[in-house]
């Protein structure tokens, strides 16, 4: 148990380190001179040299990575080229909005998928099952940059029930959360259904029924516990994915989170800010994945002995 725990922590730490290094050299990937791309044609040689020094691009790559890594440890991610404000402060301002959206989207997904997937598995080939499978296919096929405008059109423009965009008015969270959560809800619905169907066919469930337990008890005390194990993994992994999906959803709804900050910074070629956003989202992703692993380790004794 302790050994596999330590292994996982170490692996997560190494991945985080690799992520920081990759982000540090991200600017190096710009074809030609990144400084030209940022300043445009009309810049003087002095401007260029100044920016290059400010970004540390005049130093060797290894030194750049080391400097960035050192900065990350001190929570210093450089300054925005536009506003001159520290990137860490910008991120801290925007993080609550993204966390709120990702959490709400995740809740939407779980709240839709658990009942729908369970009903579909229990009443196989019924109308519920057809609804669940149709929803599962549609949900993964409708991208959130289309679903968002569709919901906006229906609930904000036509019905006038909810605000179109922004985060200030009450109810503003509803449409972005639905938009972000739907695709995950579709994936989870399919998984819950498949997983529960598989478990319901197992001997131990038949044994539980044979000893005269009620259906409800068979389902909740016996089947669900095992059926939900693989679902928990996906729920966790996808929570990390939601952080990335938030980039597009935030853009659709002008939701002032890290994703919107990143898209704005890309438009302004403000690369230190872009780097900071990529770093924050990646580290969030690694952390969530690690937590998922740990939950799984705790919930499934079979995983503990393996690895």
């Amino acid at each position: 148990m302790t050994a596999s725990l330590a292994r996982r922590l170490l692996a997560a730490l190494l991945t985080a380190l690799a992520a920081v290094c990759l982000v540090a050299v991200l600017l190096r990937l710009v074809p030609g001179d990144p400084v030209d791309a940022m300043l445009g044609e009309g810049a003087t040689a002095a401007d260029r040299a100044a920016l290059r020094a400010a970004l540390g691009l005049d130093r060797p790559v290894a030194a750049q990575v080391a400097a960035y890594l050192g900065g990350v440890l001190r929570l210093d991610l450089g300054e925005s080229l536009r506003t001159g404000r520290p990137v860490a402060a910008l991120l801290a301002e925007r993080l609550p909005a993204t966390a709120e959206l990702a959490a709400a989207g995740w809740l939407v997904a779980v709240a839709l998928a658990l009942p729908l997937g369970t009903l579909a598995a229990l009443r196989r080939a019924s109308a519920w099952d057809r609804l669940a499978t149709t929803f599962a296919s549609l949900g993964v096929s409708i991208p959130n940059f289309w679903l968002g405008p569709l919901l906006m059109l229906a609930f904000s423009v036509r019905l006038g029930w909810l605000p179109v965009s922004g985060r200030d008015e009450p109810g503003a969270l509803v449409l972005p959360a639905l938009t972000l959560g739907t695709a995950l809800a579709a994936v989870l619905t399919r998984m819950v259904r498949a997983s529960l169907l598989e478990v319901l066919g197992e001997d131990y469930v038949r044994a539980a029924r044979a000893k005269g337990l009620g259906e409800a008890r068979v389902l909740w005390a016996h089947a669900m516990r095992n059926a939900l194990l693989p679902v928990v993994t996906v729920m966790g992994l996808q929570l990390g994915g939601l952080l990335a999906g938030a980039v597009i959803t935030e853009t659709v709804f002008a939701w002032p989170g890290v994703g919107l900050l990143m898209v704005e910074a890309i438009g302004q070629r403000d690369f230190p800010v872009v780097q900071g956003c990529v770093l924050l989202i990646s580290l969030g992703y690694v952390t969530v994945n690690l937590l998922t692993d740990l939950v799984y380790l705790w919930a499934d004794p079979r995983v503990r002995s393996e690895a």
């Binding site: 692996a11 991945t15 985080a16 690799a18 992520a19 990759l22 991200l26 600017l27 990937l29 710009v30 074809p31 990144p34 791309a37 196989r124 080939a125 499978t133 296919s137 549609l138 993964v140 096929s141 409708i142 991208p143 940059f145 289309w146 405008p149 569709l150 906006m152 059109l153 423009v157 994936v187 399919r190 998984m191 259904r193 498949a194 997983s195 169907l197 693989p230 993994t233 996906v234 992994l237 990390g240 994915g241 952080l243 990335a244 999906g245 980039v247 597009i248 853009t251 659709v252 990143m262 898209v263 890309i266 438009g267 690369f271 872009v274 990529v278 989202i281 990646s282 992703y285 690694v286």
Partner: protein, 278 residues
């Protein structure tokens, strides 16, 4: 994703319909330059004209350009990007995965660590970051998507190679002194392709969404070139007065993605492949 029940076996109507949609998409993409008409023709007198107006059967956008023409031009872009990025990432990923799995040991470990690093980033985020630094344009979109997409193929191919390298026909080839590269190509790959093909089908759907997503963010093809994602982005501004500007490209996009996904499901059932969960 694990398979659903075995209910969907054989080609149902849904699958046939999906095949028709995909075939139509491919055909229109190939013929777009000839049948689309001028996707860039600006006509100020029919700005945001609704579907059915003269000259624009599917309506016009904010510059009075025909949505039908732009839809067809966009079909070509999405088709090109999807095929090219999947071809590159599937080839690279498969080659790397097969070699790693067949070689085993240190090489395998090193290759899989690289895969892990890529998987540490959420795919779409990495694609956005790459597209942002590479700059806009169809070629860069393909590079960004291929750079993100290869890991799935590498993992699958590695698992297949690991399972196959102990098989007797492979051992026989080794005993005959066949060079490793030839063994991988001739004796391992032919038995390993089924899950890779299924993965590639889903990969096409994912690439279509990703291309449209990048274009939606302004990181894909640049104006005046048409892309479904860019059409949706431009349309959102006129949601109040001209909902067709968002509905038309979105419907095309969702139909193609749904159709490709359904074909992937059918293929998976047909080949009886269980893709590993990610």
């Amino acid at each position: 994703m694990s398979t659903g029940g075995g209910r969907r076996s054989g080609a149902g109507t849904g699958v046939r319909l999906a095949a028709v949609v995909v075939a139509l998409w491919a055909l229109l993409a190939l013929l777009a330059p000839w049948v689309a008409g001028d996707a860039g023709a600006i006509a100020l007198e029919r700005i945001l004209a609704p579907p059915g107006s003269p000259g624009c059967p599917l309506g016009c956008d904010d510059l009075g350009r025909s949505q039908l023409a732009r839809l067809l031009a966009g079909a070509r872009v999405s088709f090109e990007v999807a095929l090219a990025s999947v071809a590159v990432s599937a080839t690279l990923g498969t080659a790397l995965g097969l070699c790693a799995g067949y070689a085993g040991g240190r090489w395998d470990g090193a290759a899989m660590r690289v895969v892990d690093v890529f998987l540490a980033f959420p795919g779409i985020l990495l694609a956005i970051a790459l597209a942002a630094v590479l700059g806009p344009g169809i070629g860069n979109v393909i590079v960004a998507l291929a750079a993100v997409g290869w890991t799935g193929y590498a993992r699958l191919a590695r698992a297949q190679a690991l399972a196959l390298r102990g098989r007797e026909h492979v051992l026989a080839a080794v005993a005959l002194g066949t060079p490793p590269a030839r063994i991988v190509a001739r004796h391992v790959l032919p038995l390993a392709w089924a899950p890779l093909l299924v993965e590639a089908t889903f990969g096409v759907a994912a690439a279509v969404v990703a291309e449209a997503g990048l274009s939606f963010l302004g990181l894909g093809v640049q104006p005046p070139q048409a892309s479904w994602g860019a059409m949706i982005r431009d349309g959102v501004r006129y949601l109040l007065v001209a909902p067709h500007a968002v509905l038309v490209p979105g419907l095309a996009l969702a139909a193609v993605v749904l159709a490709v996904n359904l074909l992937g499901d059918a293929l998976r059932d047909r080949l009886d492949v269980r893709l590993r969960e990610r």
